[in-house]
Amino acid sequence: MMPSIAPSFLLALAQSATTSGTDRHPLAGSIAGLMWLLPVLPLLGAVINGSVAITSRSRGLRGGVAEPTTAGNLLVSIVGPGVVIAAFALALAMFMAMIGAGDLPTPFIARFASWMMVGTLVIDWAFQLDQLSMLMVLVITGVGSLIHVFSIGYMRADPGYARYFAYLNLFVAFMLVLVLGSSYPVLFVGWEGVGLASYLLIGFWFDGKANANAGKKAFIVNRVGDFGFLVAMFLIWVTTERLDFVGAHATLGGMAGTSVVLAIALFLFVGCVGKSAQLPLYIWLPDAMAGPTPVSALIHAATMVTAGVYLVARAAPIFSGAPEASLLVTAIGALTAIFAASIALRQWDIKKVLAYSTVSQLGYMFVAVGSGAYAAGVFHLVTHAFFKALLFLGAGSVIHALQHAYHHTHRDADPQDMRNMGGLARFMPATAVAMTIATLAIAGVPPLAGFFSKDEILAGVFTRAQGSPLANASLLGIPGSTLLYGAYGLGVITAVLTAIYMTRLLLLTFFGANRTGDTETSALHEAPAIMTAPVLALGMLTLVGGWLNLPALLPLGPVGVLEDWLAPVTAPSALRLTGTGHLDHATELMLVAIAVGVALAGILFAWFRYRAQVTNKVDSPVDTSVLARAFHIDRFVDAFVVRPMNAFASVLLARGVDVGVERFFSASGRLLSRSAEFVGTRIQDGDVGKYAWLLAAGALALLAALTLS
């Protein structure tokens, strides 16, 4: 049952990790005990690459000539992707061990050390391997490996090459801590850690004030969410005296329906809203596109932003005990989905389209996990990781090509604006094919990955709306079934919008006439193999990803694999919210028909609407439509939150209150000295003896006052 691929010394280390509980877990002593190595590998990479970044830069400066650079550094090119690929291999070995171990109803917990032990508060450095964390680890290291490889090509000419890989490795390390942590505080280490890595990578080209601002904005908005996460942890601990998942959930599971559980769920969700860019805290994600494009693929599409979805699935015993909170999750998800999709309709920056699309797709995931369809939400998380990473990497290849073309002719034009693209399929066929697959997938065309996962979400919501404990609950007086039907409706409309804006993106980028520029056109060419290979690999995953969890309706292979795999983690909670409701065959077929129908309708609409020629960015008027300006939300936030607070701090507090407090003390000090002077002139006659007597009398009076009171 143990794969024998691990060297014996590693196994010895694995066995040294202590397991919790008295019963020996089937995975105890197996390679799963090496969980600590998963984040340590990329952390090591971060340290090595970081050292390269620091040392070679200072050496470059001592020469005092050109910009110091680590571009294309061989050690970095090997270590950077190497550590993530190694982590992926290790994850695969663990996966094999899990499959070999058969049924695993409980998580395998490896405790490494004590973190904090204060009174009854006990927090360990401990990792937890179960079906959910295993899946997340595979996605993170698998997709992460591909994106690291792509980065070799994308970033090879950047002077900050080593620094880039140091940050990217650091991100993977924290992301693995996030999904492996066996308690809320350890998860929180990863949660804030990925925020840090994201901050550093968004501001990677920090020379531009806009980039540095975007990084700062992301971190601060995320911190608003983290505030909720922290309060949720306090509540959990005060209620259960535990903070590990197993212990806390055991108690909270028995408290379903209480207001405490509701409060915990709501505060946790505040954290999710921040990290996963939902309304109203989504505002940081579009700005985060300032980072290098592979970063957007890994962090702001495939992994970090899905941490909120992971958290709801992980805390399913809490959310399922608070139907109101679950309904709120669904409602926020559905609103975010349609809100962001509508903005994506009118964006011209290719990365902005994808950014709003990500926000919208994350909304779908929250619709799923909110309505208790945890497996469906996680399924969409996985397929979305495939096709959205592909879309971002493909966009990266396109931007890369345009940048080179403009660099070639020394023209200063926007390489991310789709009005400067067009007809690129001729120059970049592999990228165009892959992007087309991904577009069809996200639009929900069968049999691609996105079709299955999106259909499952919509069908799941519809089933629950028809009759389930969740439908019987209510949120702010709105019955659950109404909300769920509403979410389904918004989901369908969002599907139409998704098909439209993605087809528009595809048409503007790859079809029609080229608008890059007459002289630039000749310099356009396909990306190197090191970039196209990962894109095509993701294309394959997008093609077959749906087979992870086929619906019973379309038995093209084993049915519901992912759902069965996740059952030990999420099934009990899902059952509590959804009951045993089932769709009859006819309804299910109708839902599939609607889903496919709206996808095709959207694609057709876009085909006719956006085939018309557009002019390139310079010749086009500035798009001032409300959608292009994203409903002016950023201006609103700036005018009503950021500016007032800065003014409050600098004008009212710093120049007002603080100076006032100071003046008050100085004035009272002066008053004291003046009155002393006044009395002093009467007594001050040079008689030293009198001073001494007065001093003694004063001290005595004070003493007496204190002693006798």
Binding site: G119, L121, A212
Partner: protein, 524 residues
């Protein structure tokens, strides 16, 4: 190791040695040290002897070794004072030279003793004038700081408290930068008024106790009426609150720290006042400290400090003032922890005091390094220097992350424990305090952006030199401390557990506890 140290009798002499050694060394440095500025200027006759800075550093290094020996002989399993020494002193009035450490003071003593040489080494060229006198004052100040942490006799404590204030006055006044006289004068006025009240309260307490003892353990057994407790607690708390710059007594701190030499700014930032609250104000006057109204007032002041300090840090242009206000914000967390009076919150406060000593000091040193290079601490004079000084950038980022409490750094441990402990007692207040994490991110990242990122537009910054190996050594020490305490804080938490519990139990069970007063909310 412990057995070896015990065989040397370390426990019997280490504390007196830590107090007397710097005083002795101060004399040697003052009269035997060479003044480098006199050597540099041809006009004056050069003074002989070894460099005064080297002598000071050596003396502080010995002090640090002594503190490590103290750490080594400390037995975490034992309750009460350890390494204690009780010698007769002023027998007429019953004052004794009584010193000792427990789990609360031990981390502070060690932190201070390790910090001093690091801070001197980290600001090596910051002070180049009259170095023998500077070194002597720094050593006296060290004795004062250690004395405050180890004194068990209240009169001795008061002496150490003043010994901490007076050298600081001269250090700010003589070696400080702009507007020095105003800053140092205000510092002295503020703290002196506070500490005089405390002296009167000490005398009154001594009188009520029969006039035979100043020992903390004895005075805790003196029966006090509620009114007396209130007044005395007020006097003590005012002294400690002013010294630790609790809002609204905070205005002296940014001025003094802005004007002070780097090393002195570091020592001004140490939260000795908060320590003294835990050591004296709460155990001596438990009913007053736990009284609903008093407690609420202090907790509300702490909340204001957290948010107000952070917002003001957000509004500063000057880096030193920004660090000052961030330290004022952190003090809010510490006071919150002290007066929430739960095991987690008090231990969180203890480790936060240590954290503040590490993180705020590291920030001041880093700012000082920029000041030594550019002669200014105005954020506007920087920007984009991460490219020029990468090692400095890494260090500043790490320390700033600790300031804003990122998990994995020491800052998180303290804040988390304070907040979770406070939540158990006062949930609403804990939630308000938790919002501080957002404000902290705002001022912390704003400072990082203004200093390290954005465009490198000042020509003078293009030729900045990165940290020297001396500075690297010092900052690596801080980095190790930040990460070590972030991942494995048990070394301190475990030692502070029993003593923190004693503080909380004092409020419930000591002779002066709340029987006569409205009971504390956690009483059964």
């Amino acid at each position: 190791m412990r057995d070896f140290l015990l065989s040397l009798g370390v426990a019997q002499w280490v504390l007196p040695a830590m107090l007397l050694w710097p005083v002795l060394a101060a004399v040697v440095v003052r009269f035997g040290g060479r003044d480098i500025s006199r050597n540099e200027s041809e006009a004056e006759a050069p003074s002989g002897g070894p460099d005064a800075r080297v002598l000071t550093l050596a003396a502080l290094f010995v002090e640090a070794l002594l503190s490590l020996a103290l750490w080594g002989v400390y037995d975490p399993a034992v309750r009460g004072w350890q390494a204690s020494v009780d010698w007769p002193w002023l027998s007429d009035i019953g004052a004794r030279f009584s010193v000792g450490v427990d789990g609360i003071s031990l981390p502070m003593v060690v932190m201070t003793a390790l910090l001093m040489p690091a801070a001197l080494l980290g600001s090596w060229n910051n002070v180049r004038l009259r170095t023998p006198a500077f070194g002597a004052f720094v050593l006296l100040l060290t004795t004062g700081l250690v004395g405050v942490f180890v004194s068990l006799d209240l009169l001795l404590f008061y002496l150490a408290w003043e010994l901490m204030l007076i050298p600081t006055y001269f250090l700010v006044g003589v070696w400080g930068a702009a507007e020095q006289s105003r800053a140092s004068l205000r510092y002295v006025l503020f703290t002196l008024v506070g500490s005089l009240l405390m002296l009167v309260a000490i005398a009154a307490l001594w009188n009520l106790g029969g006039g035979t003892t100043f020992h903390l353990d004895d005075l805790r057994r003196v029966t006090l009426t509620p009114r007396t407790q209130f007044l005395m607690f007020g006097a003590f708390f005012l002294a400690f609150g002013v010294k630790s710059a609790l809002v609204p007594f905070h205005t002296w701190l940014p001025d003094a720290q802005g004007a002070a030499p780097t090393l002195v700014a570091v020592t001004l930032g140490l939260k000795v006042g908060a320590y003294a609250v835990l050591r004296f104000a709460i155990p001596l006057f438990p009913a007053a400290a736990a009284h609903e109204t008093i407690r609420t007032v202090i907790l509300v002041l702490s909340l204001i400090a957290i948010v107000y300090g952070a917002l003001l840090a957000l509004a500063q242009r000057d880096m030193k003032r920004m660090v000052s206000y961030s330290s004022i914000s952190h003090l809010g967390f510490i006071m919150l922890g002290c007066f929430a009076l739960t095991q987690q919150s008090v231990q969180g406060a203890v480790i936060s005091i240590v954290n503040s000593g590490i993180t705020t000091s590291a920030l001041f040193l880093l700012v000082g390094m920029l000041e030594d290079r550019r002669g200014t601490t105005d954020m506007a004079a920087f920007g984009g220097i991460a490219r020029v000084v990468p090692v400095f950038a890494v260090m500043l980022t790490l320390v700033m992350l600790s300031t804003i409490g990122l998990p994995g750094t020491n800052g998180f441990i303290g804040e988390f424990l304070v907040l979770i402990g406070t939540y158990a007692e006062r949930p609403v207040m804990a939630v308000i305090a938790t919002s501080g994490v957002v404000f902290a991110a705002m001022y912390g990242l704003r400072a990082l952006q203004r200093i390290l990122f954005d465009t490198l537009d000042e020509p003078a910054n293009r030729t900045l030199t990165d940290l020297t190996s001396r500075e690297r050594l010092v900052m690596s020490g801080f980095a190790v401390a930040i990460l070590y305490l972030g991942f494995a804080p048990q070394a301190i938490l475990q030692r502070a557990a029993r003593a923190s519990q004693d503080v909380i139990e004092a409020v419930r069970f000591s002779p002066n506890a709340a029987v006569i007063l409205p009971s504390v909310s956690e009483a059964p």
